[in-house]
């Protein structure tokens, strides 16, 4: 007979993986039902906590931002101490896995993006540290011929318009990874090329021809697919340069590293991850969930547990389904308040100084992350919600996605 799990986590994105890690560390038997990597492979290598408030005003530090949020925001329910503990917990995992992250709530890190903008964030891999960039007089932006997702001059041109970076000299250089034979090239191809001994040697040789020792070099996120700094260290030693990876369009290699690291850690601490598991419905008795049921091409499977953490990614992950004037939570049929008039869901401007109303739709929860009904009563006692399913925040606008994921995943697992 299958031994019953203590906790089933629904969702394999950062919220779900964090929740699973926390619960397992607390000695629980945990299983993750995962359908995919969530947004981890989109832009997930960086942990934004909070960057902007209403009016699109940047906050000085994540700490300062947390103080100014409205009561409906998930962070307000989680509370500052748990947010701090969550970040500490996350950084410990990174440390243990040999892929340490930098940053804290009292420092805003402005990282370069592939569009030549900078974005405020909180925790970053070391390869995105911009201290050397800020000190440098001359900056090289290095691109790869045939990589269609990176345009060095977008960065050099736009950096000259950013006050803190404008008084520097910029140069763009290109090297050819010889990968274009008959197909399209993404950052993942270049990263895989650097993963190989021949690739990195060839790359070093080519880089020597175009960059001087002592340079600060901005590059696309291609410093290997594995969650460690071996490729970065090797390049830095060989070329005596400092490399800085940019936040880029998908596939996000830094996000891939983060996911690989989390999965590796979870396996070490005994969490079972079931891939390609589409959770379709639940078995509920009174105010408790007994089991969830997955749907496959071949058959349904029933997974029993004492508690459940719902972290299946809001609209993007399929945790919430939108219909004209209506939002459905398909597994537990939890209520979601949404304007009946669909015109009220979205602003006429896609990018403006306002958050998008639709992005804030989601499940209402209490401090323990348990779902609430319209009267504020807990609906299911052993179900906890984390990540993008939560209402009250627009992650793209305020730059808070992975921060909410980690903090709410932590809080949900601590509440079980």
């Amino acid at each position: 007979m299958m031994r019953e799990n203590d906790i089933i986590v629904i969702g394999g994105g950062l919220a779900g993986l964090t929740a699973a890690a926390v619960a397992a560390k607390r000695g629980k038997k945990v299983m993750v039902l995962s359908l995919g990597a969530g947004t981890l492979t989109i832009g997930g290598g960086i942990v934004d906590v909070i960057g902007y408030l209403d009016g699109n005003k940047p906050v000085a530090t994540p700490s300062a931002g947390l103080l100014q949020l409205p009561a409906e925001h998930p962070y307000k329910k989680i509370g500052r101490p748990a947010i701090e503990d969550a970040i500490k917990f996350f950084k410990e995992i990174c440390e243990e896995e040999g892929y340490p992250y930098m940053g804290n709530l009292d420092t805003m890190q402005w990282v370069p993006t592939a569009a030549g903008t900078i974005k405020p964030t909180c925790l970053i891999p070391k390869t995105m540290n911009t201290e050397e960039l800020q000190k440098a007089n001359k900056v090289i932006v290095l691109g790869f011929e045939s990589l269609k997702d990176f345009y060095p001059q977008l960065i050099t041109k736009n950096f000259k318009k950013i006050s803190r970076f404008k008084d520097k000299e910029y140069e763009t250089v290109m090297i050819d990874p010889n990968l274009a034979e008959g197909r399209d090239v993404t950052a993942l191809d270049v990263a895989r090329w650097l993963d190989t001994e021949e690739g990195i040697s060839e790359c070093i040789t080519k880089m020597r021809n175009v960059i001087q020792p002592g340079s600060v070099v901005i590059i696309p996120p291609v410093l290997g697919t594995r969650p460690n700094y071996r490729i970065a260290d090797r390049l830095e030693q060989a070329l005596q340069c400092h490399f800085i990876e940019t936040a880029s369009v998908p596939p996000s290699i830094t996000g891939l590293r983060l996911r690989t690291m989390m999965v590796s850690y979870l396996k070490k601490i005994g969490v079972r991850i079931v891939e390609q598991a589409t959770v379709a419905k639940s078995i509920v008795e009174a105010d408790k969930c007994v089991a969830v049921i997955t749907e496959g091409i071949d058959r349904e499977r029933t997974y029993y547990a004492k508690s459940f953490i719902l972290a299946n990614g809001g609209f993007y992950g399929g945790g919430l389904l939108a219909e004209p004037g209506k939002v459905i939570e398909p597994i537990f049929n939890l209520p979601v308040e949404a304007p009946e008039d669909h015109e009220m869901w979205a602003n006429y401007s896609l990018f403006s100084n306002e958050a998008q109303p639709f992005a804030k739709l989601g499940l209402e929860v209490d401090e323990k992350m348990r779902p609430l009904d319209a009267d504020g009563k807990v609906i299911l006692n052993n179900v906890f919600v984390a990540g993008r399913n939560l209402r009250g925040y627009d992650y793209s606008f305020e730059k808070s996605g992975n921060g909410v994921a980690i903090a709410s995943g932590y809080q949900a697992a601590m509440s079980v």
Partner: protein, 538 residues
């Protein structure tokens, strides 16, 4: 100062058709367009090359013109036309008596209607509702409005035609009741200049009333707004018309891998009232379900709206009550010589309208060269040798697609780019199979000033992801080529994505919602093209 014998106002199908016709007859002509080519009504419709069946009962003349022009455009514009044929299908909700009237009316004007059994129709189009009562085959076809306009311009250019986009008319100049020129404004730079000319043809569509007003002349054009939905599927291989008197949501038109459903009809005050809303979309879905019961299960790409320029000598006629026929107004009758407005009409009959107007203009100019627009292809076919070369450089299936999109000349230029830099062969837009070289070529054209202009010429950004991936690449590529038109690249990002958003916002549910989380995650969350950074570090 620019000079031309004739200035044509309006870069839609009618305007470019007139430009081509004038140039082919040796008249020196220039076309001005307030936005980009095909920005207005010519890209905001079904893309249906009417057989005329839609009009036969109510407007026999329009029906007859349609079937004649349909036959011509299939030949001269074959790279823009997909010869799908069409069905007229009567559903259980539609009046049986109308069917007989319709068959008779079609026969009268020469539109072939071939009855087939419902079983046969459903075998050919398996998604059709089982509740269909009767079906007829008609020679409808699908036509790409963007490409048609663009290829007319390519043809006109071969004969010396000139085009200025993002140029509006701010004054019509005359002396002794005769047009002598016009004052125009570049909407991007604000620069005002003069064009000296002997003749002005206003083919401004829904804006024709506004243009005439500049000369103190009244032209009654009632803009009638229609909203349409683009589905990310080929729901049917044929055009499917509802067999009932023309009404809302009656027509499905397949284009490549998508299907367009339309349209609604509502009188509006302004010709540029083109923001669709969710209510209209839901209405269209409700109506469309009579023909395709599973309609709601198909993923939508976007909604869009355009205004039809309905002309009426009687200013009180509105909506579907106004004729779809066209009228050439010689304003000599209003006291101003050298000024003509062409109003009303349909995309299907644009060439005929152009011919009639050009005849009139040539008569004034004493030009005797006959019209040849019905005889000569819009663009040359690519030679077998060029196609063989194209196959070496384009990704799978891309060569044929690019050849019909670009024509022989354009294809050659794109191949040159690919030869010079092999990495330009990569797909910049995977959804619509558009290579980086094509985007660069379109961006380098003198009528391109923003990424949306490149989109209309190539279809980049018009597929499933609606720009989620190719917006970044196209901005990067045009910027790398020094073609960012003096704009901040963040402005280019926002302009393009806002344009896509306009059509996504009214259908923001299902997978479209999912896609938007991704798009915003990339451009707002990751690339921060919107976030203020000016008080950073405070």
């Amino acid at each position: 100062m620019q000079k031309a014998t004739v200035v044509v106002i309006g870069g839609g199908a009618t305007g470019v058709g007139i430009l081509r016709d004038l140039c082919m007859r040796g008249v020196d002509a220039i076309l001005i367009e307030q936005q980009d080519l095909a920005y207005g009504t010519s890209s905001r419709y079904h893309g249906l090359l009417h057989s005329g069946g839609r009009y036969a009962v109510k407007d026999a003349e329009a029906g007859k013109e349609c079937i004649e022009e349909n036959t011509i455009l299939r030949k001269i514009g074959r790279h823009c036309v997909e010869q799908t044929e069409g069905f007229f299908a009567r559903t259980h909700l539609d009046d049986e008596d109308f069917e007989g009237k319709w068959v008779e009316a079609c026969a009268k004007v020469g539109i072939p209607t071939i009855p087939i059994s419902v079983e046969e129709a459903r075998r050919l189009e398996p998604n059709l509702s089982a509740k269909i009562k009767s079906v007829y085959r008609v020679p409808d076809a699908a036509i790409d409005g963007f490409r048609m306009v663009w290829q007319n311009v390519a043809s006109a250019r071969k004969y010396g035609g000139r085009v200025m986009t993002y140029t509006t008319v701010v004054g019509i100049e005359h002396s002794n009741n005769q047009v002598v020129g016009m004052k125009v404004k570049n909407t991007l730079t604000g620069e005002v200049s003069n064009i000296a000319c002997d003749f002005i043809v206003s083919a401004a569509g829904s804006w024709a009333g506004e243009i005439a007003a500049l000369a103190g002349i009244t032209v009654n054009v009632q803009p009638d707004r229609g909203t349409l939905i683009a589905f990310n599927h080929r729901i049917a291989s044929r055009i499917i018309n509802r067999l009932r008197p023309a009404s809302d949501g009656d027509i499905f038109v397949p284009h490549g891998s998508i299907t367009i459903l339309g349209t609604t009809s509502a009188s509006v005050d302004k010709p540029d009232d083109t923001i669709p809303n969710a209510k209209e979309v839901v209405e269209l879905l409700n109506i469309g379900e009579a023909l395709f019961e599973d309609l709601r299960s198909y993923r939508m790409l976007r909604a869009f709206a355009g205004t039809r320029p309905l002309y009426s000598a009687d200013p009180n006629a509105k909506g579907r009550g106004a004729s779809r026929g066209f009228v050439t107004l010689d304003h000599a009758h209003d006291g101003l010589k050298g000024f003509v407005s062409v109003v009303g009409g349909k995309f299907t009959t644009y060439r005929l309208m152009a011919e009639k107007v050009t005849d009139l203009v040539c008569n004034y100019l004493n030009v005797k060269t006959p019209c040849r627009t019905a005889l000569e292809d819009l663009v040359d076919d690519a030679s077998p040798a060029l196609m063989a070369k194209a196959r070496l450089y384009f990704p799978a299936y891309g060569a044929e697609l690019a050849a019909s999109r670009l024509g022989s000349e354009g294809l050659e230029k794109v191949i040159d780019r690919m030869q010079a830099k092999p990495e330009k062969r990569q797909l910049l837009c995977e959804c619509e199979n558009v290579t980086m070289a094509e985007v660069e070529e379109a961006a380098a054209d003198s009528t391109s000033f923003m990424i949306s202009d490149v989109r209309r010429k190539t279809r980049m950004g018009m597929g499933t992801c609606q720009g989620a991936f190719c917006t970044f690449r196209s901005v990067g590529a045009v910027d790398a080529n020094g073609l960012s038109w003096g704009k901040d690249t963040n402005v280019l990002f926002k302009e393009f994505l806002q344009g896509r958003w306009k059509g996504i916002r009214p259908i923001l549910w299902g997978n479209v919602m999912r896609e938007m989380e991704l798009t915003r995650g990339i451009y707002e969350g990751t690339l921060n093209i919107n976030g203020a950074i000016d008080d950073e570090g405070k």
